[in-house]
Amino acid sequence: MSPAADPLAPRFPAAASAALQDSQLRHNLGHATQTIRAKRAQAVGEVPDWEGLREAGRALKERVLRHLDDHLMALEESVTRAGGTVHWARDGEEANRIIGDIAVAHGVSEVVKVKSLTTDETDLNAALERRGIRAWETDLAELINQLAGDTSSHILVPAIHKNREQIRELFVRTLPDAPPGLTDDPRALAEVARRHLRALFLRARVGVSGVNFAVADTGTVSVVESEGNGRMCTTLPEVLVSVMGIEKVIPSWEDLEVYLQLLPRSSTAERMNPYTSLWTGVTPGDGPQEFHLVLLDNGRTNVLSDEIGRQALNCIRCSACLNVCPVYERTGGHAYGSTYPGPIGAILTPLLSDMSQARSLPYASSLCGACYEVCPVKIDIPEVLVHLRQRVAEDPHAPLRERLSPEHLAMRAVARVFADRRRYEAGQRAARFGQWPLARGGKISRLPGPLAAWTATRDLPAVPAQSFRDWWRQRS
């Protein structure tokens, strides 16, 4: 099954073009990303040794990935010792089956969920639905998307594409308890959601969560959140199932110190997030009396074998790269057609799906580097994007029409021209003479073929009569 990417999603340029026309989306996103950008910069600026912290976060992840198998075995042992059960899932289908089996074994028809990208990646809710089990999203934004039949468009703020009025209208339409005179005051909206969710928390017997960090030497699992719904889901039900990508393991308790500083400041621009839940296996008489940890591969071990791409597994899902990305800010998350949108999605999605899908995503970037600059674990996203572009452009299994596309042919031809001074100078002369039907008053306003995409909105300068090298020769 496909991890992350929707195989039927349109290619990025087409999906982006449609999104660019959505003025409400542009307004909502522009406002939200600009606000969080400024707040993040301030929160990060307070830490005197932020760069040192970033480097520690990166180096630690690199070391973990190098010995991932050892750390995972250690985690399994310590979780088991603490009374939990560890399951290994090769792919999303296997993970969904394990979770479904647990729910069925307990005879439940519903589960409550903490916001979890990993279960979005495996499409858990749909899989449970097929077995007659309703999965209730309890994160406010995930709830909004679920009620609207919509999908997430941001890693941290899944309903960033919606504004207060849209949410008010949705609640009035879908929540029976919503008062008729509900306003778009955030507190009023949150209160309606709280009342709706509280009943679910108290009723549900099985909770499902993702995992931010799992400590190998103690078996401690952690969920970092803002709303408290995660605390409810991980403490109230009798049974708790947590799903984690295998890269989420960290060696020791002390390592949390690094990430619990990096994550909140990068994601919500807070010094500390409101709720950090940490639990170790099962504690008799306190919290869930049955705990399952599902370790999900779903393409991750393939990514490990990619020397440049593997740094994408450092990601702690903070979403800082989305908030600074000039492309994401304008197109929104849905254009990426993937669980993981924005710059990190543009590398993670193709990597996890082994390039069979999402071939347009590595090109969904101007390589401006703003993402790399803010990444708390120093993922060089532009480097990985360029690396993945190479895998697309040089794919020997690509269809012939792609390998013989105008771009491929032009790139090869131009490389040949540049490889030799005489050919290069002849090329300069050819450009100068070839442009005569197009150049007017020193500029070109219409070009044929694929280059028309440039001149649709931009002029091009005409090639001047004398090149620099001609001037230089004349001078000396």
Partner: protein, 249 residues
């Protein structure tokens, strides 16, 4: 002061923006630097590498390393091409599986400088004796800012220009949407980014938008021209080459 500097003009400037190269020569000679121009140079391979055609870039990297092997210092009026050489040439050499090329690249890299780095760091000048009595705003290009980390060097040079009315560009560090083939492959998104950049430039009421990369400037000026804004673009070198007694060469 280095006796000699080799100019790496870049294929793009050589062909489309010769006035930028002329300005670099005028400026450096005015500062007492001897400039040479190895005629065998062509292209650094950035477009190929960034678009995914790294294999095609290998011969261009080899060529660059050979052409400039004897140069003491190499200067270029293009931050993104310098970024290619300094940040990505080692990767191309690795892809080529050529240890000799990797060694040559490692040896060459630190000698390749962007114009403002040469002026401020090597020549130790900020006031280059330029005079440019116009309202100017400066767009820091992404690669100058985030790959080369030239920081405020170009601005320090501009602030020292006589008669200049330098105004800050709002949201200056936002990308203009060029991104090489991105401007074609994702033309609509690119245009949306450019629109916001143009609005920021117009808000400054500047006559001239200055930058350290003609590629980004070509993108920005493409919209400034199409929209009949009356704002022109100039490379940093062209502003710095202007003196009170007159223009460039």
């Amino acid at each position: 002061m280095p006796p000699r500097v080799s100019l790496f003009i870049t294929c793009f400037n050589d062909t489309i923006f010769p006035q930028t190269g002329q300005a670099v020569v005028t400026l450096l000679e005015r500062l007492g630097v001897t400039v040479d121009f190895p005629l065998e140079q062509t292209c650094c391979g950035q477009m190929h590498f960034n678009t995914g055609y790294a294999t095609e870039a290998i011969p261009l990297v080899r060529r660059f390393v050979e052409v400039f092997s004897d140069s003491e210092l190499i200067v270029s009026p293009s931050a993104s091409c310098v970024g290619m050489v300094r940040d990505y040439y080692p990767r191309v050499a690795e892809l080529a599986g050529d240890a000799g090329l990797a060694a040559a690249v490692a040896e060459l890299r630190p000698r390749v400088l962007e114009l403002s780095e040469l002026l401020v760091d090597q020549l130790g000048v900020e006031d280059v004796g330029a005079h440019f009595p116009h309202r100017v705003t400066y767009h820091p290009t992404c690669h100058s800012l985030r790959m080369l980390k030239v920081a405020d060097r170009p601005l320090r040079l501009l602030r020292a220009v006589g008669g200049i009315d330098l105004v800050e560009l709002p949201e200056a560090t936002q990308c203009c949407g060029f991104g090489g083939t991105f401007a074609i492959k994702n033309a609509d998104t690119s245009a949306a980014m450019l629109t916001d950049k143009v609005r920021a430039i117009l808000d400054t009421r500047a006559e001239v938008c200055v930058s350290a990369d003609n590629s980004c400037l070509m993108h920005i000026s493409g919209a400034l021209s199409r929209q009949q804004t009356g704002v022109r673009t100039m490379h940093l070198a062209e502003v710095l080459a202007q003196t009170i007694s007159g223009g460039v060469a």
